[in-house]
Amino acid sequence: MPTTLPIADPIVPESQDDLADLIRQAHDTTTPVYPIGGGTALDFGLPPKQPGWGISTAGINRLIDYPSRDMTITVEAGMTMAELAATLAAERQRLPIDVPHADVATLGGVVATNYNGPRRYGSGTVRDYVIGISGVDGRGVAFKGGGRVVKNVAGYDFCKLLTGSLGTLAVITQLTLKVRPLPESTALLACGFAHLTEAETALASLITSKTTPSAIELLVGPAWDDAGDIPGGEKTVARLVVGLEGTSPEVRWMLDQLASEWQALGVTSTLRIEGEQAPVVWQELIDFGATDDTALTVKLAVRPSRVCELIGVLQQVDPQVSIQAHAGSGVLIAKFAALSAADANNAMIKQIHPAAIAAGGSAIVWSANSPDDLTRLAVWGPVRDETLVMQSVKKQFDPRGVLNPGRFVYS
């Protein structure tokens, strides 16, 4: 098999055994392997620099077991998120993880990149739902962790270790998830602010709100200017959208309650997004995270109280930056439309990483349109003591460094 770069014509094994054979060959010949799910997040991490094999999980995509009354499901990693959602919806259940391009994105890819959207505030992240995992390590050894029951502490938690490991420890082949009931009703409440300080006051007050939001989204910048019905005039600098889910009486009560809590803060205009409009707005909130041709997309995760301050830092880099903050969780996605590679490196290293670290968190480059020019420091931030322990783990799982080499946080 020829090695190529960029990865064209990936190999498509049909089973975990075939995949393990391939990785054993790669190990024996020290050939880099680039695992590919739906290909929606290939820009994440540093770009591949060594020719190697692309290996697609598209052929490993079967439903293995769905005992819906146990509220668990076991599927192969190549299943798309849309197919998974449809399977679950037939039993009025869901995996509450928001992913753009769900018709293409695979579950394995979502787990490998630890991708999470707006509902992370109310529902947690993908790591909270993976209860069993199988994969093939960098030696071609197939292994598993966890199991098929919702509570299990036998052995090391490979479900956590592999979630977010970007295919650098193992290629994920199968997952068991715990799932949740589909909510009966969903709605959103939105308002706009003329100053970020007002936004922070509203965010802080949500901490003691009587409502239980599923998502707390703060939206800033030109990408949101034509965001349809979300209120705000020329003076609006930030829009706040709160997602509410539950039974119909619960959602109705929360809409009224939150509107009155906002009124007490001096918010004069709020918009209720209900009925057929609600899924449309949810989808807008989910799609912003999709990889596109933006010059630089950055993800920051900081203490929630520092979100507005970080928005200020990002606007110093480029006043035209568009931002979606999953503000309740302290996570920001910032899109810089026009930024040269040199400016991107500079902004990440001199401004964004230090500000994120000072705010109790971290930043990473999510995607860039000229990724080859970005440095490891710009993409992943400074090497920490913890990074060195990650390297020790990597050496044990992939001693010859064949899995996604040069792309992840390891220095």
């Binding site: 005992p67 009354r69 146990d70 509220m71 668990t72 999470n116 947690g124 909270d128 050894v141 197939a142 292994f143 598993k144 962790g145 199991g147 098929r148 029951v149 509570k151 299990n152 502490v153 036998a154 052995g155 090391y156 938690d157 490979f158 479900c159 956590k160 270790l161 979630t163 977010g164 490991s165 420890l169 949740r180 009931p181 589909l182 901490i207 003691t208 009587k210 409502t211 539950g246 039974t247 009486p249 619960e250 929360m254 993800k299 995760a301 929630p304 109280s305 302290g330 994120a356 109790g360 968190g361 971290s362 003591d385 913890e386 322990v389 990650m390 020790s392 044990q396 799982f397 390891y410």
Partner: protein
């Protein structure tokens, strides 16, 4: 270790923490020779009580210099021998590190030292509108460091998740003495999720010296119900129906008649002693939705022939119900001189099946078994009653335990939902996992703990046999 080397070791440890924080006389160390799993005992050579991360680091460096094993310990309430000092060595007891360093409501986290008792954090948060969700039944004694080591659960983890779902970061002393910060107050730490990997590693990967925990909003309202059933089949079927109906209760617990008698004698709640099973059901959340959930649950229970469904009318009544549940194991002493609790897990729809099998297995071995289930999670705690002075009974209890756990595996379940592998269940690892799974787990251990000097003989069959023969199941606390 060699006895002559101990005085030198003790002297060096004393120079770090002070003489009053080191124990080395056998009689002083009796309590440290086991945890809640009392079947296997072994004394450490030295017990040391550090008060700072720096002291833990210095202790680990001393152990490495002397090439002696070391093992962290919290309150010792674990139930699978996770802090049994296999091979002796230095036991590092973290109960003197007991400060709640910060409570930050705006950012929804608290920073605690490992020796903070679980309920202290709950108490410190009272009135803030927030709480720390994991609530193991031993929460009045167990430490958060121990909860992290064993990934503790508790009745309310059905809705809120176990410890790993509530830990944002840890500071830890590594096996080689380095101090490393993993994660922190921010989410989505770049790179591998080593926080999630360390939680539940039973002290074999790192010694946790500081924990960033997530705080959870208190629910607006609660409805607590007690379903009374004529048969265990009806009770377990009702539980399965509640989950199957898409209701996620905060807690869903079952006790059968055997244990009910003991609990009633201890606490006089007014449980109906002729009922075969009671189910404790709690839903929480917005008031706007609670009555509908309550009504749905009552209808499901009635549909499964519940004799009655009582509602806890007052907070006091609710707290008493929970006291009965959480202290159920203490009441078992009224039933027999010794008991042995198992910690299996089955898919929730298999609860009726596993309960029938437990009854059959009890009959087969002529062992009385009473049951307390974290039923909503499928986590079963059959309690095998016996007299440890009777060698034949002891043999039968061990055989019955093994058969119950084997049945859990056959149902697609696990041999431990929350107590851990420790030394007790090492033999089951190769039944749950393939040799390649265990080999990869061992490689993970090597990445963190290459010499194996930290907590040797734990969790993995490859980590070296403990060398102690399992002779009898002993008396032990549970949960």
């Amino acid at each position: 270790m060699i006895a002559q080397a101990v005085p030198q070791l003790v002297a060096e440890l004393q120079s770090v923490v002070g003489a009053e924080h080191v124990l080395s006389a056998l009689c002083e160390m009796l309590v440290y020779e086991c945890d809640g799993f009392t079947i296997e005992k072994n004394s450490p050579d030295v017990v040391v009580f550090p008060r700072t991360t720096r002291q833990v680091q210095q202790i680990v460096e001393i152990c490495n210099r002397h090439q002696v094993p070391f093992i962290p310990r919290g309150a010792g309430t674990s139930l699978a021998g996770g802090c049994l000092p296999v091979g002796g060595g230095v036991m590092i007891v973290l109960t003197q590190m007991r400060e709640i360093e910060e409570i930050n409501l705006r950012d929804r986290f608290a920073i605690v030292q490992p020796g903070v008792v679980n309920v202290w954090l709950t108490n410190a948060l009272k009135g803030t509108g927030y709480h720390y969700a994991p609530d193991p039944s031993s929460q009045g004694a167990c430490t958060i460091g121990g909860n992290v080591a064993t990934n503790s659960g508790g009745p309310h983890t059905l809705k809120y998740g176990v410890t790993v779902n509530h830990v944002l970061g840890v500071e830890a002393v590594m096996a080689d003495g380095r101090v490393v910060m993993f994660g922190g107050p921010g989410e989505d730490n770049p790179g591998l999720d080593l926080v999630g990997t360390i939680v539940g590693s039973e002290g074999t990967l790192a010694i946790v010296t500081r924990v960033w925990v997530r705080l959870t909003r208190d629910p607006q309202g609660v409805r607590t119900m007690l379903g009374v059933f004529e048969t265990c089949d009806d009770a377990t079927n009702a539980i399965s129906d509640i989950i199957g109906a898409g209701i996620v209760p905060a807690a869903l617990e079952m006790m059968d008649q055997g244990i009910l008698v003991a609990v009633e004698a201890a606490f006089q709640f007014g449980f109906p002693l002729d009922a075969q099973a009671i189910v404790l059901i709690e839903v929480d959340g917005l008031e706007a939705g609670l009555d509908a959930q309550r009504d749905a649950i009552v209808a499901i229970c009635k549909g499964r022939n519940a004799r009655e469904v009582r509602l806890a009318a007052t907070t006091a009544e609710r707290l008493k119900l929970w006291k009965c549940r959480k202290q159920a194991f203490g009441a078992v002493g009224r039933l027999s001189p010794s008991y042995c609790t198992q910690d299996g897990v089955v898919p929730r729809t298999q609860l009726p099946h596993i309960h029938r099998r437990i009854t059959e297995i009890g009959q087969k071995y002529d062992i009385r078994i009473v049951n307390v289930f974290h039923a909503g999670d499928g986590n079963i705690h059959p309690i095998l009653l016996f007299d440890e002075r009777d060698a034949d009974q002891v043999k039968r209890v061990l055989a019955a335990s093994n058969e119950i756990l084997a049945e859990c595996i056959a149902c697609g379940g696990s041999v431990t939902g929350e107590h851990g592998i420790g030394v007790e269940k090492i033999d089951f690892m190769t039944k749950l996992f393939a040799a390649s799974d265990c080999e990869v787990m061992n490689r993970l251990r090597i990445a963190f703990n290459p010499t194996g000097r930290m907590s040797p003989g734990k969790m993995l069959p490859t980590a070296g046999a403990c060398g102690l023969e399992k002779r009898h199941p002993g008396r032990r606390a549970a949960m």
